[in-house]
């Protein structure tokens, strides 16, 4: 069984700070990490490999040359092969062009049985590339997977998380799933894995090697553009009070009643 995991390198957001003078994001010194949701995707692929025995886990990413580090982290965890889609021609891609490019990348890997993506990346927060890739490849798709109940060479049965519960869905393979945090607890890289990652060969894929349609990649292939970006106004820093309990309670109570939100 060939399992492909799509990952993205993102800035570790816990340290994201706003420059109060310019109102922009300060991203220097912020270490690049594997998108946390993709860690669940990698882990699930490794677990499926352990379950079915005969499987190869391939990780693929699209990004600048330094995104190679993210692929190495995946190798350290146990992935077998790693592919980096990187080319100036891909710069400025929106989710449509990214979906197209990643789909081309996956097509270049030969037979694929299962593709796993994290539900979204924590920088863009769009959750659009997973379903986009599925559509571009013409594959069946299930989003928000919180459990893989059963898997065989020809089908998979999963639990899809909805707002008010879950649905058990079965799907023929090949197919694509996006996974949520609840699916597993990712392992840590072993020392042996880290050694392996150091020596790993990362296969590079370019616009030319993928024979990508120039009209469908990069800024040219992207229907959307960023018109402007800005830092949201922080609300509050409002009133802050302390005092004895009855006083606090009456303040909260009158505030809530004034809001007129209780039905």
């Amino acid at each position: 069984m060939n399992i492909v995991v799509c990952i993205k390198q993102v800035p570790g957001t816990t340290q994201v700070k706003i420059n109060p003078e310019t109102g922009t994001l300060i991203r220097d010194g912020v270490e690049a990490v594997v998108n946390p949701f993709d860690e669940y995707a990698i882990e699930e692929a490794l677990r499926i490999k352990e379950r079915v025995g005969n499987a190869v886990v391939k990780v693929i990413t699209m990004g600048p040359p330094q995104a190679e580090e993210a692929l190495k982290s995946a190798i350290a965890l146990g992935a077998d092969e790693a592919y980096l889609i990187s080319d100036r021609a891909f710069a400025g891609s929106d989710t449509w062009a990214t979906s197209y490019t990643v789909a081309r990348g996956i097509q270049s890997l030969g037979t694929v049985d299962l593709i796993i993506c994290g539900k979204q990346a924590i920088d863009g927060d769009t959750a659009q590339v997973g379903p986009g890739v599925a559509e571009m490849l013409g594959l069946p798709f299930v989003a928000w997977v919180r459990k893989v109940e059963e898997i065989s060479d020809t089908s998979i049965r999963v639990e899809r998380m909805m707002e008010d519960g879950y649905e058990v869905v079965s799907m023929p393979l090949p197919g694509l799933i996006t996974v949520v945090k609840e699916i597993n607890v990712p392992r840590m890289a072993s020392l042996k894995g880290k050694m392996r990652a150091k020596k790993a060969v990362i296969t590079k894929l370019t616009a030319e090697s993928l024979a990508a349609d120039p009209a469908k990649i990069g800024q040219k292939g992207s229907p959307t553009q960023v018109f402007r970006s800005f830092v949201p106004e922080r609300k509050g820093g409002g009133e802050k009070i302390s005092g004895d309990v009855p006083e606090l309670v009456s303040k909260i109570k009158s505030t809530i009643l004034d809001l007129n939100v209780i039905r």
Binding site: T126, P131, Q225, F230, L248, I262
Partner: protein, 400 residues
């Protein structure tokens, strides 16, 4: 296409260096130099250089959609569960009506379901000029394949300029497939929509980086312009008995629909009766609640207020309450009218999930807790004393 530094304007302040997420910029001889191998054209540096305007990105776009002028009207996708129209869809009707009026175009509602003629007629009363209802047994439940197929067909035949859908589990699952298929522009999880009337453009504003950055997205050359819209942000349409409009019914032959996935079972499992993404009021508990049993204090207040129960990641990870209650970056994003944070210190990730709430009350004994930075009302006090007393006070006055 490319990025360019105007050397006369650049003063070498290095704001762009710090704004760059991929370390593609360095200052050489007091001027910014951009490594084109690393640069992803994300425009973070352009934003950082607002004051000096020394960095420009020239955009190049493809031919885009042919006959763009043929695309007219604002369409909304009507989400339904078991034949009941979802709350978020009334918000789409309200917002879609506004946008359509600005454009002086029609509001078209597209409904997929089975045996929903009555509900289809009702959509007119809630503001739709035209309802396109696809009726089939196989459309009763959401399935990515069938929904993407039908809505893509709708795009091909009706040619809407704009499509809005709720940014729900369903909307965010299949709408990207529609966008992929029709090569439309899709903006995820918008919290604000505007129209540039002159250019006939939709401006969709959305949070990124967990709410730390807002981006306004446009789609100038492709149609339709599609947006998924966050629940509880837009005002819901109100019913008007006298409104009129047309309802078009397509009875879809079942063999026409290709559905590869099979729904084996549907399980409802929210612990309390209120779904946190739908709730007007949320009472949330964090690690400050001390121990698992104390979550009942949070639940008691929620009950008396008719609120849903939320939680921080810390208490979910500790197993005090199921994941479906988690608010934050790895949980759910909520924007209720009132959010009461009990014993939540306010991690960046938690705040990302709730900072767009209309009104935030935070109760925490640490006066320096980060949550106070975004709270409209900050209560420095012990949750174990304040919250039960508050519950009691409301019980008495509400007569519960």
């Amino acid at each position: 296409m490319g990025i360019h530094v105007e050397l006369e304007k650049c003063i070498g302040c290095s704001l762009c260096v710090r704004a760059c997420g991929v370390n593609a910029i360095e200052i050489v001889n007091k001027k910014a130099v951009i490594d084109l191998e690393k640069c992803t054209l994300c425009a973070a540096c352009v934003e950082a250089c607002k004051k000096y305007q020394a960095i420009t990105i020239t955009k190049e776009s493809s031919g885009g959609t042919k006959n763009i002028a043929d695309y007219k009207n604002v369409a909304i996708f009507v989400e339904q569960h078991n034949g009941i129209v979802a709350g978020v869809s009334y918000e789409m009707l309200g917002e879609g009506r506004k946008l359509a009026d600005q454009l002086k175009e029609k509001l078209v509602a597209v409904l997929l379901g089975h045996d929903m003629q009555k509900q289809a007629d009702e959509l007119v009363k809630f503001g739709a000029d035209r309802v396109v209802y696809y009726n089939s047994e196989k459309l009763a439940n959401f399935q990515d394949d069938s929904y993407a197929q039908i809505v893509s067909e709708f795009v091909d035949t009706e040619k809407p300029a704009i499509i809005l859908a709720g940014a729900s589990a369903i909307g965010r699952s299949f709408i990207p497939k529609v966008a992929a298929r029709v090569w439309g522009g899709l903006t995820a999880d918008c919290t604000k929509l505007e129209i540039d009337v002159e250019k006939h453009l939709l401006l969709g504003t959305r949070p990124a980086f967990g709410g730390n950055l807002m981006a306004t997205i446009i789609c100038p050359h492709h149609r339709p312009q599609i947006a998924t819209v966050r629940h509880k942000v837009m005002k819901a349409a109100t019913r008007d008995e006298h409104r009129t409009g047309e309802v078009v019914v397509h009875n879809v032959e079942t063999e026409k629909l290709t559905i590869r996935t099979t729904i084996v079972d549907i399980v409802k499992e929210v612990e309390s009766t209120v779904n946190i993404t739908e709730a007007d009021i949320i009472v949330s508990g964090g690690r400050g609640m001390g121990k698992p049993e104390n979550m009942s204090i949070v639940k008691d207040l929620a009950e008396v207020l008719g609120a849903a129960v939320g939680a921080s990641r810390a208490v979910v990870d500790a197993g005090w309450i199921p994941y479906s209650h988690q608010v934050g970056q790895t949980g759910k994003t909520v924007c209720p009218k009132l959010y009461v944070a009990c014993g939540i210190s306010g991690s960046v990730q938690h705040m990302a999930g709730m900072q767009s709430s209309d009104y935030i009350i935070a109760i925490n004994k640490d006066p320096n807790a980060d949550i106070f930075q975004i709270a409209n009302l900050g209560i420095v006090g012990d949750v174990m004393e304040v919250v039960p007393a508050l519950t009691k006070a409301f019980k008495e006055s509400l007569g519960k």
